[in-house]
Amino acid sequence: MLKIWSMVRFTSASGQKKKKVTAAQLRVQKDLSELSLGTTMRTEFPNPDDILNFTLTIEPDEGMYKDGCFHFSFAINQNFPHDPPKVKCLEKIYHPNIDLEGNVCLNILREDWKPVLNLNAVIVGLQFLFLEPNASDPLNKEAAEDLRANRDAFKRNVRKSMAGDSVRGESYQRVLK
């Protein structure tokens, strides 16, 4: 053991008794500073000291979901960026890639997540879901069928659901601004 201790050459290390900023916090801090939210998105931090949990609001200004206001909760664990953030839509909406519970089917939130991706990539992905709902990757099967069968009818359903009406017997939350 004595030999190993004699090898100890200290350069920049120092005795640290206090809790240290975690790797996850550090990375989220960096990601937040690089976030480009534009005019259609904003964040809210229920507890500003806790940057690992926040809400993202998206208000699309084009596409089928224009003028809607959608909230997503972001829950990031200490394993970030090795684990992806957990993202849920807080409203009950009619969308082929978002189920009625708010689960989001976005490849980079699950199977294609890589630690090199950042929070910006996730919010760009979410934004894209509102511009280009994807029928081939359905989480809400009925909505996907509607989109595939008749795009115009699907659009009408989207508007109805956003106004708080029901579509195919399922009632949706009003999300219009």
Binding site: S6, A13, L35, C105, L139
Partner: protein, 432 residues
């Protein structure tokens, strides 16, 4: 020959060990002195074993039979009947009892003169003072999370004034026929976090496949695990070790498999998928544990060169998948490792400064030159330049005095979009 713990032991038992401890060999250093001092260090060395499962049982047995006499062991699990085929320190009658306790008593009974102190609980229950008492730590874990935790703890414990605060970490791991043994000298050589890319994560199945078109029995089980549970038992926390919970998932998965004409969903497969179990192979555990304990013995006694010396090999991989293959190499440190790279630098500050004054000073410091810094401590956000919601929430801090925001010796992390790396400073109050 010697008297320990009030038990007179015969040195006869250690006759073969003494052949390497009491005379120089072809690989010993020139200035190495064999004999009494080496033996007494080995007997007084305090080592911690984390995990008393497949690897842990082997490690405890090996250490005791290598002459270590003061061994501590931590494990949070209780013995399950499925452990008995390879975790040989446990018997049928031990099922349900804590692993650490039973393993400690068994080895103490078999190897006289060894003291094993068990702790049944999580490694996270213990603090720096606890880990500081050991000379080295040997891990036989199955979780990456626990490894990352202990690694970060040991890196954080290293204190420049005290070489003994650097605790060698010997880590063993197995998965089926594959395994690895490695030695980490915290802050000196590549740490667990630097080596994280050596662990390929389990491929995740797209949520949409689970939700719409399952193809394999595993998909049905994952569906029950991720979707059905959330829908029907929201609020219930899923316990992987609760037979009722696993049975529920099994029934759900079975019904779904039937619906899609998929066969092969069984109770044990459900357990395997949910708990992410990879079959454990007793002999792989034995090989890896033996390698870990040899390194522990050599580090403690210097009888032979060991794994982990800076700029030499620190990682031994073993594969028995296709015949047999081992390769030993140096895994290099990562400069930007979030745990051992970029350690905090001490920064003397005037605690009566406002946060704004401190931020201004960062812009002027030659080593930082941060124009738009964002700062936080572990528990609070000090100031964020963006996004707007955080900027607004933290803006009032700019006028506060530092002593109201941080404590003496606390670490802050500073990032600036202009720089790729982050800065960490340990703030030391001037004129206390």
């Amino acid at each position: 020959m010697s008297e320990m713990n009030g038990v007179t032991t015969s040195r006869q038992r250690w006759k073969y060990l003494d052949r390497v401890l009491s005379r120089p060999g072809p690989f010993t250093d020139e200035d190495w002195v064999p004999g009494e001092e080496v033996i007494s260090f080995l007997e007084s060395a305090k080592v911690l074993v984390i995990g008393a499962g497949g690897l842990g049982c082997e490690i405890l047995k090996n250490l005791a039979l290598s002459g270590f006499k003061d061994i501590h062991v931590i494990d949070m699990d209780t013995i399950d009947v499925s452990n008995l085929n390879r975790q040989f320190l446990f018997r049928q009658s031990d099922v349900g009892k804590p692993k650490a306790e039973v393993a400690a008593r068994f080895v103490e009974r078999r190897v006289k003169g060894v003291k094993i102190t068990p702790y049944c609980g999580r490694i996270q229950d213990k603090d720096e003072d606890y880990y500081m008492q050991f000379n080295m730590i040997i891990c036989g874990l199955d979780s990456i999370e626990a490894r990352r935790w202990i690694n970060a703890m040991l890196v954080g414990m290293v204190d420049m004034e005290n070489p003994e605060s650097m605790k060698p970490l010997i880590d063993g791991g197995t998965e089926g026929f594959k395994g690895q043994a490695r030695v980490i000298l915290p802050t000196m050589t590549s740490c667990f976090e630097c080596q994280l890319d050596m662990h390929a994560p389990r491929a995740a199945v797209p949520l949409c496949t689970l939700a719409t078109i399952p193809r394999q029995p595993q998909h049905c089980i994952e569906w029950a695990h991720i979707i059905a549970w959330e829908e029907e038992r929201k609020g219930d926390i899923l316990d992987n070790d609760d037979p009722e919970h696993i049975t529920w998932l099994y029934q759900k998965a079975l019904a779904r498999a039937k619906e899609f004409n998929i066969s092969g969903v069984t109770y044990s497969l459900t357990q395997g998928v949910v708990k992410n179990i990879i079959p454990a192979i007793a002999s792989t555990n034995a090989i890896i544990a033996a390698s870990c304990c040899n390194e522990a013995f050599k580090i403690a006694t210097n009888t032979n060169p060991y794994l982990g010396v800076p700029e030499t090999a620190n990682y031994m991989m073993y594969s028995g998948d296709d015949s047999i293959y081992t390769y030993t190499f140096e895994h290099q440190r990562k400069e930007d490792c979030p745990v051992c790279g970029n350690l905090a630098k001490d920064l003397e500050i005037n605690a009566r400064w406002t946060l704004q004054e401190f931020i201004d000073s960062l812009a002027e410091r030659a080593e930082a030159q941060l124009k738009k810094p964002t700062l936080r401590t572990e528990k609070s956000s000090l100031y964020y330049q963006s996004p707007p919601a955080l900027e607004e929430a933290t803006r009032p801090n700019l006028r506060k005095k530092l002593f109201d925001l941080v404590s003496d010796g606390e670490e802050i992390a500073v990032s600036d979009p202009a720089f790729q790396i982050d800065f960490k400073f340990r703030l030391l109050f001037r004129d206390k």
